[in-house]
Symmetry: C2
Subunit: 196 residues, 2 copies
DNA sequence: TGCACAATGGGCAATTTTGCACATTGCGCA
DNA sequence: TGCGCAATGTGCAAAATTGCCCATTGTGCA
């Protein structure tokens, strides 16, 4: 499945991930402004200087995970069989993508959202989101849709991402003890009726 | 208490310790001859080449822990108050030395002893033991003893180490659920009556 | 208002780790 | 008995990490 990556690259990836996670954890715990690069470096077991070798600043380190997820999701869509209809491909990619990551905990999800709501991060997140929407539209552009107008892929991608956001919001707000995947399924199902 | 060691040195020490522990664990599990340097390096998360940067061979890596303990014990004796009598210093050093390391588990101790009983290790262990005896004798040479003949320090050190070996043997063989420290105390007490 | 100071970004050299090549050694098996 | 091969030790260059440096920026306090 994976290409035979050497020790060097594996360690680099592990360090990058560790730095990202340390940044996220400390930010959720203390707030973005109260976390220093030095504290992150300490938590990740590297020097402050080495932090700079991996990320140019805290924002990069913090959003790295999200950007990874975005890339992975887009790739998952691209990897779906070419003949699969657009909406089905999006849902299937989401499903196999979701099962690859640890099930998020409600409390943590809430705190993370709060932590990420920070001025110096918003612009970047907006841009990421736009890029994701564009890439998803790209990835399903050649697939079958109910009617098949040229503009449709963008609408599809937007609807898909909107469903995702809505599902997360509902999951966070509701009391039921079900995972986010279940809510996502529900909303996707509802939204999907309009696009299949 | 500790000198302000930098990140670099701390990491080096950690790696060296990790390599040693990986060597010990794999040796106990599979036997000295069935453990390759490569396997040790993998288990320690470093490359085979880096192993060579820390130890010249498996023997070194395996006996590193023991040699560390030896050094620590000798140092502990040296750190005792100068006016403390010889045997008391040895016992006190042993006590404070023992409480610094994790309480060994019987099964593990047995396996370790067996694993270390290997031709290519024996000579080195003998030498280490002799050195320890010499260093301990040195460390108590200036201290008060019951009669104070010049040769006495060597006898003292030998008796001390013999007590240690006997205590370990008894501890390994007996069924009682007490730690090795208790047995050591008992034997030291008995042996000590002849030297105080 | 201006200064002291912490945080940061990045240049640079020293040190460490890695990957690779090559020679040597010891052992099992044809 | 001799060959094939895995394991090992080591030289070397590339890459990564660290420590130390200094300039810049932002902030709180005198």
């Amino acid at each position: 499945m994976e290409s035979p990556v050497g020790l060097r690259e594996r360690k680099k990836a592990a360090t990058r991930q560790a730095v990202h996670e340390a940044t996220l954890r400390l930010t959720v715990e203390h707030g973005f402004d109260h976390v220093t690069v030095e504290a992150v470096a300490d938590a990740a077991g590297i020097s402050r200087r080495t932090f700079s070798n991996y990320f140019t600043n805290k924002e990069d380190a913090l959003l790295y995970g999200e950007e990874q997820h975005i890339g992975a999701l887009v790739q998952a869509v691209r990897d779906r069989p070419a003949e699969e209809p657009a909406w089905a491909a999006l849902r299937a990619a989401m499903a196999q993508f979701a099962e690859r990551m640890a099930p998020p905990e409600r409390e943590w999800a809430i705190r993370t959202r709060l932590a990420l709501r920070h001025p110096s991060l918003l612009a970047r997140q907006l841009a990421n989101h736009a890029a994701l929407e564009r890439d998803l539209a790209d990835a399903v552009a050649t697939r079958a849709t109910p009617s098949g107008e040229p503009v449709r892929p963008f609408v599809l991608a937007a609807a898909f991402l909107a469903s995702l956001r809505i599902a997360m919001r509902i999951w966070i707000e509701e009391d039921e003890a079900r995972g986010p995947g279940a809510v996502i399924d529900e909303i996707m199902e509802e939204m999907g009726r309009r696009f299949t």
